[in-house]
Each structure stands twice: as structure tokens, then as C-alpha cells.
């Protein structure tokens, strides 16, 4: 992608290896100057604007649309409806694989949730399309909406999350509870939340015959491409998706959703390139969200404060037409060494767009409930919350009994607590005040997230001019893939980062898998690692088999790649440059591919997770109930840190989201209509700068030989876990009031 021109940035200072250096974002200058091209910045010649009309009921049927009025509006070209649209090659209701979700692409008049697309107006200008959509003035036949966690008969879904068993247990929970010296039994509620990436979902689609050019933010280039191919009945190689930058995704841009498909259909209908961008409120429906939960935790301890049983049940919701179940209770599988653990889920169906993975799906919702409950249990035992956690430290994964591939959580607790000054915390709540009379509270939570791996492929090239290239269809959602993956590529190619032409963000590159599950750096990194090794091996073959080379006879294992040269392992003074080797061999370049994939044997043997400990201080006005977080320290152990600066940013972002989870975020749903009444960034509260205290992130050293070749665990999601509970627990410690419904609101602290 030459237009990115990333390497024009000033050369980076490098001390030895590229991995481990806190390089600044290589795309930073482009972004600061507004030169980074996001999907909606593309304007192919002749492009038209499409605007969706969305349902203002959450259940029923569209009975009429005033298409005539819309078409009469100056500038409107066409109106796509269920009666007037290009046909798809397959029924969008068919789930062709588990990563396909049902979508609304005008296949019928039925309305299944509020903000479902019901028509698309295509016009010469955005304004005309917008007005055209308003002029459609839809009429409906409305049915009573199913709303909330008690909307109907509950059922036990077959799986939760992505294929997790709905129920898990080890040991006898009821016996453990019965034998307990102390017990707690508490119910926590978390609200629906929406991803709200800064960049809305957007697409610019241009057909050329049966070839399709797409600009669209995606966290899964190949999954999206495959879905588009099957929906439109065209070959994979006829589709090109560009997604160099995403303005955030958080899981909502992982899989193909309905709106971008509508953009492609609109382009087909009018025979011209079309741009379709969602309005903010349109993102509260068709592009996924975090489902609400009601979680009951029953915990028992013996007289020493050791856990005897942990029972975690989560009720959640899915849509009336598809299945995704927030695996909240699974958060209790890994952290605390209860001899008996049971986790279970049930669900009801409501009129909502299908919930989806949202940053730490299951872990975030489950963590705030679990960490609150552990805090309550510690208090019931009269034990400091950190001491209680250490007493119940899991040396092996409690639910499976497997050893951990690595686990530096003890060091996280120690370093985090020391930095925070936790030792001075009074056990009793409502003991601390600042000099203005505000209540002060300290709380903590344990963070955890699985170390996952998906599949990826990369292509490595070494060229006669001494430069190299690494190609991988990786995704930069803002987390820094352009930089961190290029650092890995540089090391694997034995080159300085400025001599590596790193390409990503396009579907014509090797498949990097999905940027999700905090696994992208690990997965893409592993592919880059093996592609790099493979190309170096090929290059070494030229040299070690050539009598004229100083490396002749060294054998492949006998050479090291460093600074653009191959050198002998047994005598580092003997070596030659890549350029020399290729010149002598008479080839312009040498290339190789490599893959990254999970290692089933290691997964069978070990439990693999990143861990962390988060400590928070809040202040609460004793009479007015307003809360402010004033300090947060998070210590995280997540294997190898590829780029400390970017890792810190990810952890900051996660911790802020945790704060948001505890105190701010909630989609307010009208209980009568199932419609979301705060579908805008003015009233859907997330923390603003004044809410975010100085954040202190410690990355704790951890070497993991099992997770993958590079020892990377991933840091994208873990920051939310632990943090939300830490803030909630600090609110309790400040006030003595235990709030179990999130976000914590002023009125609950007025009592």
C-alpha cells in the first residue's frame, strides 16, 4: 500500500533488537496531519451517498414507506427497500459457519429490534439522502416488545461465548457451601453497553463488472471477504478490501454486519460507487453490543478464609433470531483456588440486535461481579482483600487442574500494592477522608484474560538492495499493529525497522486472522516469525552451499541473521550481507511464507492466561454521592512486551474502560419499547478527561515458553478486567455501601 508511506517518518533509534523498544506509532504523523485514509475518506469518481432508514420500533412489521416522497426529493437517485433491491446469492438468514451472524439486509418487512435498517436512500449528496430517509415516514404494525432480563421464559443455551460449554464444574459446590464457615450470596447486574468506536461503521463500495472494491474498517479482512463473496456469489479473488486504519473496533468490526452489506447492495443497485456511513444512533442496533447480565455468586470459606466453593451463575439475553451469549460466569474459572467451582448460564430472548463480543466479552462482565463478590467475601472473613486473594491464589487452573504456562500474578500483586501503598489500607470501610472532608476508599481487583492464538500467514521477502518486506493482512485498530508487527518483522528479518517494507491492512495480503481475542500480535507475530525464519533459511541456503561464501559449510543452523548480514555462529567475524549473497546468486529477491497457529499439545497441557492486579482510589462526596476516581495502579504480566509504549496505551485504555464500566456506561433502554434512549455520545456516558486520574501501569516481567514462539500473551482486553471491580470495591470501601447494580449511580450512595 504505497499511499501509506509510513517509512517516510524519521528513522527510529534502535538499541539492538527492535522488539522491546518503545517506538512511537509509525502512522502517528499521518494521523496527526489528517493524512491517514480511513474508509469514509475515500471518494471514488461518481460516488453517491447512501443513508439508512432504521426502525423506530423494536418488534413488528413495516407496513408502508413513502418511497414516492423520498424519490421526489431533489438529488435522490433511488430507494432500496425489501421490494427493490439486488438479490443476494444466499439467504442472509443461513448461518454458513459459526462466525456468521444473521443480518438485516432488507430481506423482509419484519422488524426484530430498534434501529434495524428498513430502507436505504441513495442520493447525490449526504443531505439529500438524509432527507430522503426522513421522508420515507415509515408506518408499522407494532407488537409488544420483549425487554430486559426477565422478558420471558429463560432457557439454557447450548454454548456461550464462542463455543464455550454453558456449564462447567469441578468438585461439589453444594457440599462446599454447606460445609463453609462463612458464605455470601449476592446478585450483581450489568447493563447493555455499546462499542461506540469513534469511527462509525462505514463502507465505500465500488463495483467494476463483477469485481468489487471495498473500503471498510474491519478487524477481520478475510472473514469479511469470505462473507461478502458468499452473499454476492462472487469469487474471493474478485474482491479487494482495504482497511489500513480503524478508528476503533472493540469487537464490533470483527464480523460482517448488515449495514456494510447494504452499502455493497446499494452500489450494485445504482451501478455507481456508494458510500454508507452509520450515524451514531444507528450503531445502537445492527452492529452488536455487550449484553446485560444478572449474576448470582455464592461463595463459601472455611474458618481460615480459604474458599470451599464458588458458584457463579449468569443470566443474559440474546436476540430473538440469533445466538450470542455473554459468557460472564466463565470469569470464575481461572483465578481463585476453590476446591469446588460451578459456572452456569441461562438466557432470555429480547428484541435487540444480536449481542456480540465487546472488549473482554464475558471477562469484563464476569470480572466486575466476581471481584466484587471476592471483596464481599474477604470482608465477611475480616481479611484484607489482597491477603484474601493471596490465601486463595490458584497455583493450578482451578477449573481444569492444569498448570499455568506462566503466571506472574504474585509479582503483579506485590508490585502493584507497593506502588499504590496498599499496606496502609484500613480494613473497615468509611475510615478515610481527605482534607476537604470527602470519603476516600481503596479497592482492588484481579485481572485475567486468556492467551489465545488464531491462524495467520505472512510472506517475507529479502531483496538484492539489502531491504526486506513483510506482508500480512493485519489490522490496526489504533492498537499499533503498524508499529509492533513491523518491529517483529524487523527482528525476524535481521534488519533495522526502517529497511523493512511492512505491508498490512489489505485483503490481497496473506490472511492474518482476526484482530480479536487479544491475540492479534501473538498470532500475526508468530506468522511473521516463521516467515522471517523461512526466508532467512532460504538465503542461508544460497550462502552455505556456495564455496565462494565465507559461510560455506556452516549449515543452516550455523548462521545468524543480524543487521542485514548473515554471520557464522562459531565465528561472528565471518559473514556477508544479504545483498552480496543475493547478487552472487543472481536473484533479485528471495521470498518465503510462514504461518502462526495455536499449538494444540501445549494447550492440552497448560492453562494460558495473562494476569494483573489493579488498585484504585476513589473519593466520594459523603452527602451528595458523586464519585471520582483519583488514582489507579495496574500491574500486568502478559508475557513478552513487544512495544512497551503501545502496551501501556492498551492497558490505560482498558483501565479507563473498567472505570467506565463501574461508574458510567449504560445504554438506557425504555422498558416499554426496548428502544435505547441515550444513543448518542452526549448522554451515553464514558469517562471524560476529568474522570480519569493519573494511571500508573506496571508491566511485570514474564517469560512464557509455551504460549507461542515469541512468548506474547496479548494486552488488548485484560485492562478492563480487575479495574472495574477495583473501582466498585473502592466505592464500597469509601462509603460502606455495597452497590451491586452497575454503573454505580449517585442515588445509590445517597441512602
Amino acid at each position: 500500500m504505497p499511499e501509506l508511506n509510513l517509512t517516510s517518518a524519521p528513522a527510529h533509534l534502535r538499541h539492538g533488537s527492535n522488539i522491546g523498544q518503545p517506538l512511537t506509532r509509525r502512522d502517528g504523523v499521518l494521523k496527526a496531519k489528517g493524512q491517514a485514509t480511513y474508509a469514509a475518506d475515500n471518494h471514488p469518481p461518481g460516488m453517491l451517498f447512501a443513508v439508512m432508514a432504521v426502525a423506530s420500533i423494536s418488534r413488528g412489521r413495516v407496513t408502508s414507506l413513502d418511497v414516492t416522497a423520498a424519490k421526489r426529493h431533489p438529488g435522490v437517485i433511488d430507494v432500496m427497500t425489501s421490494n427493490h433491491k439486488p438479490e443476494l446469492a444466499i439467504d442472509p438468514e443461513i448461518k454458513t459457519n459459526p462466525f456468521v451472524f444473521r443480518m438485516e439486509v432488507l430481506q423482509s418487512n419484519e422488524v426484530r429490534y430498534a434501529n434495524q435498517p428498513i430502507a436505504v436512500v441513495i442520493a447525490e449528496t449526504l443531505e439529500a439522502a438524509t432527507e430522503g430517509a426522513a421522508l420515507l415516514a415509515p408506518r408499522y404494525e407494532t407488537l409488544p416488545a420483549l425487554v430486559g432480563l426477565d422478558a420471558g421464559e429463560s432457557f439454557v443455551p447450548p454454548v456461550v461465548g464462542v463455543g464455550n460449554p454453558t456449564e462447567n464444574h469441578r468438585g461439589d459446590v453444594e457440599a462446599g457451601l454447606a460445609a463453609a464457615d462463612k458464605r455470601i450470596d449476592a446478585v450483581y447486574e450489568t447493563p447493555p453497553q455499546y462499542h461506540n468506536a469513534m469511527e462509525p461503521h462505514a463502507i465505500v463500495a465500488a463495483w467494476d463488472g463483477d469485481s468489487l472494491q471495498i473500503d471498510m474498517p474491519t478487524q477481520g479482512l478475510m472473514l469479511s471477504l469470505a462473507r461478502v463473496a458468499e452473499l454476492f456469489g462472487i469469487a474471493h479473488d474478485k474482491i479487494h478490501i482495504r482497511s489500513p486504519f480503524l478508528g476503533g473496533g472493540f469487537g464490533s468490526k470483527g464480523l460482517m454486519a448488515g449495514p456494510p452489506v447494504l452499502g455493497i447492495m446499494a452500489a450494485k443497485l445504482v451501478g455507481k460507487p456508494v458510500k454508507l456511513v452509520l450515524r451514531r444512533e444507528q450503531m445502537y442496533g445492527p452492529v452488536g453490543h455487550r449484553a446485560p447480565t444478572r449474576q448470582r455468586l455464592r461463595i463459601g470459606t472455611d474458618s481460615e478464609g480459604r474458599l470451599t466453593a464458588l458458584d457463579h451463575h449468569a443470566r443474559t439475553v440474546s436476540s430473538t433470531f440469533d445466538d450470542f451469549y455473554e459468557p460472564a460466569a466463565d470469569a470464575s474459572h481461572t483465578l481463585y483456588a476453590a476446591p469446588a467451582i460451578r459456572t452456569s448460564h441461562d438466557a432470555v430472548r429480547v428484541n435487540t440486535g444480536t449481542p456480540l463480543f465487546m472488549r473482554a466479552p464475558g471477562e469484563a462482565t464476569g470480572s466486575i461481579a466476581l471481584e466484587s463478590a471476592i471483596d464481599e467475601m474477604a470482608w465477611a472473613c475480616g481479611i484484607d482483600p489482597l491477603a484474601f486473594r493471596l490465601k486463595n491464589y490458584a497455583e493450578v487452573e482451578p477449573i481444569t487442574g492444569k498448570p499455568f504456562s506462566s503466571k506472574a500474578l504474585r509479582a503483579c500483586y506485590e508490585q502493584g500494592a507497593a506502588r499504590f501503598g496498599w499496606a496502609k489500607r484500613p480494613l473497615q470501610p468509611r475510615q478515610m477522608r481527605d482534607d476537604a472532608g470527602l470519603l476516600v476508599g481503596w479497592g482492588m481487583g484481579t485481572a485475567t484474560f486468556p492467551a489465545l492464538m488464531f491462524q495467520a500467514e505472512a510472506r517475507a521477502v529479502l531483496r538484492r538492495d539489502g531491504s526486506g518486506a513483510m506482508e500480512i493482512g493485519a489490522h490496526d485498530m489504533g492498537q499499533g499493529a503498524w508499529t509492533a508487527l513491523a518491529q517483529i518483522a524487523a527482528d525476524e528479518l535481521g534488519l533495522d525497522i526502517d529497511h523493512v517494507d511492512f505491508k498490512a491492512g489489505s485483503s490481497d495480503l496473506p490472511d492474518a486472522g482476526i484482530a480479536g481475542g487479544s491475540a492479534h500480535t501473538a498470532t500475526a507475530g508468530a506468522a511473521i516469525h516463521s516467515a522471517g525464519a523461512a526466508v532467512i533459511a532460504k538465503l542461508a541456503d544460497f550462502a552455505t552451499s556456495d564455496e565462494r561464501s565465507p559461510l560455506f559449510g556452516a549449515g543452516n543452523a550455523g548462521v545468524i541473521a543480524r543487521d542485514g548480514r548473515l554471520i557464522r555462529r562459531d565465528d561472528e567475524s565471518r559473514g556477508e550481507s544479504y545483498a552480496e549473497i543475493l547478487a552472487r546468486a543472481g536473484v533479485a529477491e528471495v521470498e518465503a511464507r510462514g504461518t502462526g497457529a495455536p499449538n494444540p499439545a501445549a494447550m492440552e497441557e497448560y492453562a494460558m492466561h495473562a494476569h494483573g492486579a489493579v488498585f484504585a482510589e476513589v473519593k466520594v462526596d459523603p452527602e451528595l454521592g458523586q464519585v471520582r476516581v483519583t488514582r489507579m495502579v495496574g500491574a500486568f504480566a502478559a508475557g513478552r512486551i513487544v512495544n512497551p509504549r503501545m502496551v501501556q496505551s492498551q492497558l490505560f485504555g482498558g483501565m479507563i474502560w473498567g472505570l467506565s464500566f463501574a461508574l458510567h456506561e449504560e445504554a438506557i433502554t425504555d422498558r416499554r419499547t426496548g428502544r435505547i434512549m441515550n444513543a448518542n455520545l452526549g448522554e451515553y456516558h464514558i469517562p471524560v478527561n476529568a474522570d480519569v486520574p493519573p494511571l500508573d501501569v506496571i508491566t511485570v516481567e514474564e517469560h512464557d515458553p509455551h504460549v507461542n514462539a515469541l512468548g506474547i500473551k496479548g494486552v488488548g482486553e485484560i485492562g478492563i478486567t480487575g479495574s472495574a471491580g477495583a473501582v466498585a470495591n473502592a466505592v464500597w470501601h469509601a462509603t460502606g455501601v455495597r452497590v451491586r447494580r452497575f454503573p454505580i449511580r449517585i442515588e445509590e450512595l445517597l441512602k
Binding site: S56, I57, P74, E127, T130, E131, A134, K424, R425, P426, Q431, M432, R433, D434, D435, A436, L438, V440, E617, K619, D621, E623, L624, G625, Q626, R628, T630, L663, H664, I668, T669, D670, R671, R672, R675, M677, N678, E683, H685, P687, V688, N689, A690, D691, R745, I746, E747, L750
Partner: protein
Amino acid sequence: MKQFDYVRPATVSEAVAAAAQPGAVYLAAGTNLLDLMKGGVSRPDRLVDVTHLDGLDRIERLADGGIRIGALVSNADLAHDADFAKSYPAVAEALLSGASAQLRNAASVGGNLLQRTRCAYFYDTASRCNKREAGSGCDARDGENRTHAVLGWSENCIATHPSDFCVPLVALDAIVEIEGPNGRREIALDELHRLPGDTPERESALEPGDLIVAVRLPPAARGFAAHARYLKVRDRTSYAFAVVSAAAALRIENGKIMEARLALGGVAAKPWRARAAEDVLKDVAPTVDAFQEAASRALADAKPSGDNAFKIELARRIVVRALSLAAAGTPARIPALPASPFASTSGAIHA
């Protein structure tokens, strides 16, 4: 967007003439109006842009000791006018507690006074709303109404007026200068906003074509400068509307309150002047007991309009706190977190 005419008159009288026709509305900075237009809540036929009118962007000290603020002065410029902030600290504090820096830089004095409610059902054209469409009903009444009114509401509308600026202004007896088709007139700010009654669609005392040209504070308003605060409780530290707020201003002499001013925000369809509370504070010592008595007077008529009973108790506590802060004296500088309960935290911990 609906197509509309846009006119940019050069003089006040041209503006008033241009706005006299049905379907015309004034456009100031547009931070509220344009959002309403994009959402289809407001569908004017003609925008009369007043931002280029001459002479409306001045802050003038009047010979009688009062001050006159042109309708086009931006919220930020007014709050950062050192002399204004010194003389009317609660007003400056209220302004700086509103919206965000970017919005305050744009938002005008006139627009702030006439901003519309933030009731979610008003913004949502698929909901029934008597204010948006007279007689259609009120979906907030049984809906999500945690932040709705606890004073002065009617069965027809339970919305609140969201302005922070108006709260200390109404406490200080601000006067609104209006230029209309029938010439110039002025009314007390307290008379500008109407309670909903049976006609929630009629929000203000303005007639079609009426243009606010200035807001005036009378000479007496300056007398409270030493003891004046605005306090705003909200769901996040900044960039959020008030759940409940209060402006308190006292004139204290020899340990006694000579005169008290108190108004509440976020509780009613207008900035709520609490005169009964002011009365009990006259000639008494500034004690917490007195403030509590004032608070119960201020909220005597309050009743929940839905899921918001907590706002009544919260309002009482805010009144007590705002009066206590005012009695303690206006801080030398407006706090970095204006009007926040966290305004005076220093960060020290007593463990």
C-alpha cells in the same frame, strides 16, 4: 436534511423582520439548534443567522453599576472576562461547569437561555412528546425519567430546563432585553421560561420574531460577589448536564445574612428561584441549621415525576452545601473543576 432558507441580516431590525414569518428561527452558534435539525426534531423553513449582527457581542458596564451582556457574547468569553468573573463569580462558575470547552467557545448567551430540554423523548421523533407536538402525549411520564423534573411539572410535561448559566442569573434578578416586531421590551429572566401546565409546547414568554439582544444584571447583583457559589452534581466529573444544581449568593454583614439568593437547576422547566428559602435566611446567622431550614422550604412543593424521588433529597443537600460554600466565601479563583463537589480537593489522604 430538510431544505431551508438561510438569511444573514446585518441589523437587528432586519433580523426581526426576517424572523417574523412562520417557520423562521434564529440561529446563533447552532450548538443546540443544528443537533435538533439533524435529528428532525426542529424542521425550520428559514434560519435567520444572528451571528453577524452588530453590537450584540459586548459586555458593557452600566452607569448605575449594573452590567449588560450582549446576546452574542460567547459563554467562554463571558466566563473568562476577569471583571465579570470577579463581580459575578457564581455566574462564571456556572458557565464553566457547562458543556465542554469547545461548546462554550461557540455557544452564545442568547442560545444558552433558549436551549431546549434534554428530555430524551423530546429528541426522539418516534416518541410522543407534547412539547414537540402539542397534544401528542408524553412518553417520559412512564418512561426513563430519572433526570426529570421534581418541581413545577404537570401531567403534560415533566421536562427540565438544562441551562447552568440561567441558575445564578435568575438568582441575581437578571433581566432579558428583547427586540420584537412591536419594538423593544424587557422582562425578568424569571418570567422568560414557562412552566408546562397545559401548554408545554409554549416554552417561553417570547413571541414569534422576538430576539433576545441582551441580558442585564441589576446593580444589586454585584453585592453578592464575596459569597456566591454554583454547585452542580452530575453523573460524571465534567461534560454532563446537572442532575441537580444550585446557585447560592449571600450578603453577609456582621455575621448575619442581610440578603440571600437561591436558585435550583435541573429540577424544573425553568431555572427555579427559591424565594421561600431566601426569606428564612434573612437576618439570621449563616448556620447549617438555617441552611437546612432553607433547603426544606425550597423543596417543600417538590414531588417525584417518576423514577426521580432521589433528586428531591439530593436537591436539599445541594442547597445546604451551596449555601455553606457561599457562606465560607467565594474562592479567589474559580476552581479547576468549576461547581464540582470535587472543586476543593487537594489530594491529601488521611488514612
